[in-house]
Symmetry: C2
Subunit: 330 residues, 2 copies
Amino acid sequence: MANPGGNGATFDILGIGNAIVDVIAHADDRFLTDRGITKGGMTLIDADGATSLYGDMAPGIEMSGGSAANTIAGAASLGARAAYIGKVRNDQLGEVFAHDIRAIGVHYDTPLAETGPPTARCLILVTPDAQRSMNTFLGASQELGPDDVDAALVAAATITYLEGYLWDPVHAKAAFRKAMDIAHGAGRQVAMTLSDSFCVDRYRQEFRELVDHQIDILFANEDEIKSLYEVDDFDDALQAVRGKCDIVALTRSEKGSVILTGDEVHVIDAAPVAKVVDTTGAGDLFAAGFLYGITNGLGPAESAGIGGRAAAEVISHMGARPEIDLKTLL
Amino acid sequence: MANPGGNGATFDILGIGNAIVDVIAHADDRFLTDRGITKGGMTLIDADGATSLYGDMAPGIEMSGGSAANTIAGAASLGARAAYIGKVRNDQLGEVFAHDIRAIGVHYDTPLAETGPPTARCLILVTPDAQRSMNTFLGASQELGPDDVDAALVAAATITYLEGYLWDPVHAKAAFRKAMDIAHGAGRQVAMTLSDSFCVDRYRQEFRELVDHQIDILFANEDEIKSLYEVDDFDDALQAVRGKCDIVALTRSEKGSVILTGDEVHVIDAAPVAKVVDTTGAGDLFAAGFLYGITNGLGPAESAGIGGRAAAEVISHMGARPEIDLKTLL
């Protein structure tokens, strides 16, 4: 296990994920049911599906998104030395993505796609209960491949953080595996989020193998970890995953989080939120705060507390990137 | 003067303006002073200036904007039959602009620019005092010309609403004049906002002539009307403009508004706002509510009350378009 701090790393955290711009609009429950959209989930859509759904949606706001990118942006806002790998096209939304992640202090130099589909977008419908339902057109993010994984960058990061969503684009899985191998070869750690329970459904066996053999720090919410082990009860899932990774961070929305490390189980309360506006990015920002803490030598409970406060900030407004300088949470 | 309601009009309000996508980010006062940006104003920038400023800005959110477009979007949200004319390019931000204005219920079919500069964007810096400082790259909105003014559409609207900002792009002035002539020829009314005190500085003589001879309903804030008549005192400006138009609606931020109609002076209090987050769009949404009222047969004081409530909604969050269905304000 790499030694956080003083380990010769140039970056605390490197994230690799689908580089996406979010288009966020309010919708009522009827809008979802009429279109067969799974509430709270992430559904993949093609270009025609995106055009059709966008045409029906209410006026929106555009903001940079992408799960691992949100985490890395949050970590940078907290003060981590952060880098990101993900693919956009040389179009206006790609420019927005690149600007936003660099402007928050993240090292980002993945080559732009010069041809092919446009920058990925996620059409996010926020219902009156503040739940978000995501519809993702992967676009240029599908062009991410092993060649985009800069070996020196991976070797220079204390933790490489990968999103389960990378199993969806064809070539990204190879990029994911390459990054894991480089990180471990350099004595670094690999963290992963299971991303979404439907994503776990699609890749359960592969994800179980990753968790068993490759992942040092695992992030999952309650639905995802239950899906991974096909159990109905959270405690059963917790027992199933216990001991599989150095650290397992399980998030439970308003019930807070549970962190498993070696023999220890830390139960952490959720941070208070005056009004939940949009839950998009809650898990991403928990991971941001947790990884910031871990890479700064804090213990799992304290790190989870920072994660909870970062998540509380992001669900208090529309969008999955922090609205404030997260250093004020420390 | 056209008779609101039962006048054979297909639309209550037609807006013509610079079609712009806003890029909104927080900034501190030092950021403005370091770059010589006039706080609270609208500064025109070229493509290089936009690239340079954007490169320095914090992460942003993208939302449709444009002064008259915001007004028309607000009026549509209130329930007005609304249409809009303004030029975007066939690019991603143009698609965003067209989607958002149609999605809120506005008739919009101005032909897209197929060549030339990209869709206009306004880089908006919101300082901790919630003041907004706008830096506009006019881009494709400069391509708006008289040919884009659909005579049948203008003749079919009870009120044609024009922004003073149209004096900035080269050809838009001719479009403005063409629309005024058609509207008056069809027995309709022409409304105009002076837009910005620096815009008034640039075109004072022409704006005075418009106000004297062409405008039926004039909107201006305190700084703009003082700039128009080059006086330091609001009451002097009020006396100077009195009687020049059928209706003069003067907005004074937290002091509310003053409406002049014939011999009457109506003083209306501002609507309460729990927390002012971003003042972008305050004047635009006041005009939306006021025009909605007037075209629905309400009196000037009641119409100004709706305008005040619409303005209060838009300054309670980031961005210049309503976040809620404004019908709930009625």
